[in-house]
């Protein structure tokens, strides 16, 4: 019998439909979660950087702490919300890709918010008087600061993408690892490994590593070229 690596390479080379379906679903779920995370997290993080209100410190610490939220706990929370007896049970979202998007968004959001806050806060210290002088109020400064911090922000967003695409706990709990429906790369690896069907597991592992590697390469390349182009 062939070793798992040979089978894996065979699967990848032949473009096995089960394999591509799993990869497509994983990317769809994670990209959706990252997009929502950015849409909500970027303005929220920037707002948190510029706003001063009582209790702000608590919120900052809370989001910093949530960056380390264990994925299984996030999964459990979403499960409790979406399960039939939960407050959102009527939506019948449990064991759907939507549930996985929600769980991953919860994992990504604190990363995006905390990173944005820290990047924007540093920029704000430098830009504050200048922007006021040019006529920008606090609110109008937010998009300016986000745009000028874009290089650092993209790096952090990619870190969020990495965390979401690599985690298994949350999507397993709320997705249920249903073949052809909610099976992602990480949950498939878990299942196939426990079944002793290592070929598919290794193939998915290789793809996952390649995605992570190319994302980091892209982030690094982007930062390098931006430093040269933008100063």
């Amino acid at each position: 019998m062939d070793g798992p690596f040979l089978i894996a390479i065979g699967l990848i080379a032949s473009g096995d439909p089960a394999l591509t379906e799993i990869i497509a679903l994983s990317l769809k779920v994670t990209l959706t979660a990252v997009s929502i995370g950015c849409l909500v997290g970027l303005p929220l993080g920037a707002g948190l950087a510029l706003a001063r209100f009582p209790g702000r410190g608590v919120i900052v610490v809370a989001f910093n702490a949530l960056m380390g939220l264990p994925p299984v706990v996030a999964g459990l929370l979403v499960y409790l919300m979406l399960s039939r007896s939960g407050p959102l049970g009527d939506l019948a979202l449990l064991f759907t890709p939507t549930a996985m998007v929600i769980a991953q968004t919860i994992l990504i959001l604190p990363i995006v918010i905390s990173l944005t806050r820290s990047v924007v806060e540093d920029l704000w210290a430098e830009y504050r008087e200048q922007l006021r002088s040019l006529g920008a109020g606090r609110l109008r400064s937010v998009p300016t600061l986000l745009w000028d911090g874009r290089v650092s922000l993209v790096t952090g967003i990619l870190a969020g993408f990495g965390r979401a695409s690599a985690e298994v706990g949350a999507v397993l709990i709320v997705g249920g690892n249903i073949a052809g429906h909610t099976r992602t790369m990480t949950t498939a690896i878990t299942l196939e490994t426990s079944r002793g069907s290592l070929g598919l597991a290794v193939a998915l592992g290789i793809i996952l590593l390649l995605i992570t590697l190319s994302l980091n390469a892209a982030a690094w390349g982007l930062a390098q070229s931006a430093r040269g182009r933008l100063g």
Binding site: E126, Y127, E129, Q130, L131, R132, S133, L134, G135, A136, R140, T144, W147, D148, R150, R229, L230, G231
Partner: protein
């Protein structure tokens, strides 16, 4: 909006009057009882030793910070008129092209896109920045960055321009270029209020001098009088020391 702008530019915001204006941080009174009138069309150089409060005075006049007591008021009664601009001691250029840096404050001021691009183009030409228009502003040389900072302030069509040490970190030729621009602004009718460490620069540029010492305005008048016959021992020491130095 358009109509408002025409009216705003037709009315003069000057003179600027400071009455018994003080600024404190905690118990430290950094500026103390300043009475000063900035008249239209003059070049006023604010002088004084380090820590006298020169930058602070400009930032207060420009409206970046609020006085602790006393008042700062414009002829136009506007609390912070748009027809005034400032070049900070360390101007922050946005991480964008030269053109985008010029466009930014005009967009904030509410000019329509077409008007804006024309104003930007005019400004680029006026300051010899056309060859640099698409370059990232942060990668310009020190002299070019300062020229862009002045251009950005000028593009707002200010009646008064506050310049905080406009040539502090520049070599002599770049300094000269900046001083030439200041003379041109002045010839266009823009009132100049600037600080300078450089006594020679102050002599070249000043029509009026305001001399600050430990947060108090102790002399204010025509430049010739200040340089030839300073009234206070502090100013005499400063001029004497600065000449030797």
């Amino acid at each position: 909006m358009k109509v408002d702008k025409v009216i705003a530019s037709a009315t003069t915001i000057l003179p600027l009057r400071l009455k018994d204006m003080s600024y404190s941080v905690g118990n430290a009174r950094l500026l103390d009882g300043i009475d000063l009138t900035v008249k239209a069309g003059r070049r006023l150089v604010v002088m004084g030793p380090n820590g006298a409060g020169k930058s602070l005075l400009l930032r207060l006049c420009h409206g970046l910070i609020e006085p602790t007591s006393g008042s700062i008021s414009w002829q136009s009664q506007d609390p912070r008129p748009a027809a005034q601009a400032m070049v900070l001691q360390r101007p922050v250029l946005l991480r964008r092209s030269v053109r985008a840096n010029l466009n930014y404050p005009l967009a904030l001021a509410g000019y329509a896109r077409a008007a804006r691009s024309e104003m930007v183009q005019k400004t680029l030409a006026r300051f010899g920045l056309i060859p640099l228009a698409e370059r990232p502003a942060r990668l310009l040389s020190g002299g070019e960055q300062q020229r862009l900072a002045l251009a950005r302030a000028w593009a707002l069509r200010p009646q008064i321009l506050f310049l905080d040490e406009p040539s502090a970190a520049l070599d002599p030729s770049a300094t000269r270029a900046i001083e030439d621009l200041i003379f041109q602004f002045s010839a266009e009718g823009i009132t100049i209020v600037m600080t300078s460490h450089d006594l020679f620069q102050a002599r070249r540029l000043a029509q009026d001098v305001a001399f600050l010492h430990r947060g108090r305005l102790i002399e204010h008048g025509p430049a010739a009088q200040f340089f030839d016959a300073p009234q206070t021992p502090e100013a005499r020491d400063f001029l004497g020391g600065a000449l030797i130095w």
